[in-house]
């Protein structure tokens, strides 16, 4: 069950810089912990996040096991045109989530 919370303003003034905040369900298992049987629990993390705005990448981030479970990422971008913001998280074991948010620039 994967699930993300995204905070993007619905409308923004042209030229304004606004914040995008995201939170996604993921256990971010480090690969350095031992389970009950003493064996290492295999790594299972999101290792990349990106944000495109009308097709252009405006922000991306490489994540490591040192990012907290249920990763929170906040960053900014400048309002240019109305359109779509696409957020993408990918990681181990084929993890891939994409969310699209519409934005209106006035």
């Amino acid at each position: 069950m994967s699930n993300a919370l995204i905070n993007v303003p619905r409308t923004v003034r042209r030229g304004e810089v606004f914040q995008i905040r995201t939170l996604i369900s993921h256990r971010m298992e480090t690969g350095f912990r031992a389970g009950t049987n003493g064996q290492l629990i295999p790594r299972d993390i999101i290792d990349r996040f990106s944000c495109t705005y009308n097709g252009v990448e405006v922000f991306s981030m490489r994540l490591t096991p040192a990012i907290a479970a249920n990763p929170f990422i906040g960053f900014h971008t400048r309002a240019t045109e109305s359109g779509t913001i696409v957020l993408r998280w990918t990681g181990d074991n084929g993890f891939s989530v994409e969310e699209t948010v519409a934005i209106e620039v006035v």
């Binding site: 069950m1 699930n3 919370l5 939170l23 369900s25 256990r27 249920n70 929170f72």
Partner: protein
Amino acid sequence: MSGLRRGSVCLGLCLVAALTANAQTDAPSRRSGYHDMGKPLQAMQDDDMANPGMLWVGEGANLWNQRFAAADKSCADCHGAVQSMSGVAARYPAFTAGSDQPVTLEQRINLCRTQNQRADRLADGSRELMALTAVVAHQSRNQPIAPPDDPRLRPFIAAGEALYRLRQGQLNLSCAQCHDDNAGRKLAGVTIPQAHPTGYPIYRLEWQSLGSLKRRLRNCLVGMRAEPYAPDAPEYVQLELFLMDRARGLKLETPGVRP
């Protein structure tokens, strides 16, 4: 939890000595564990976009509308919008139709799963049960804890209080020694809270997940080096009833964030 810290040194015995030495009598006024946290964690709880517990509330809201198995009914088909659950979490555990014992909110939800949806019982602490409990309890956020005035509950609350005051475990400590006598004091860095069940289910950073009050109680029992009660033991319900009665009037925060 973090195998990261398995090597830490046990301070258990020093602790007993420290607590006995520190015991004070003036009862502080009641306050949620929220107030014992630093500003950064309070901010994490207060901001729905920063509070990871809201991920479970979101999942629970989806589950609320999902039709299940034999009965092909969703929670919403019988209860309407999830907002109809406003106030419910503030008065559980309680007696309910189909049970001769008080049940916790989780158990009440599971009764609906098995009897009304004719689906499988959700496992204790499972993601689905936590998500449903979170979305139901979230509807009571900011409402005062208000246990029902039901005489049938009294013996169970009394049993809970007796457990709370019982010295147990290898350290021979009672819950009251920490949470009444030493609340507000530091235990080598951690502030001992008053143990009010205001935030449940909570997102506990130590768990990196959302968990129930039962799980929290189990952690304290392990900490006291007492044998935790069996998963379905009535003792958990009794302790919950006592803690809710003791916290009467304090506001619910679900989903709370705790260290």
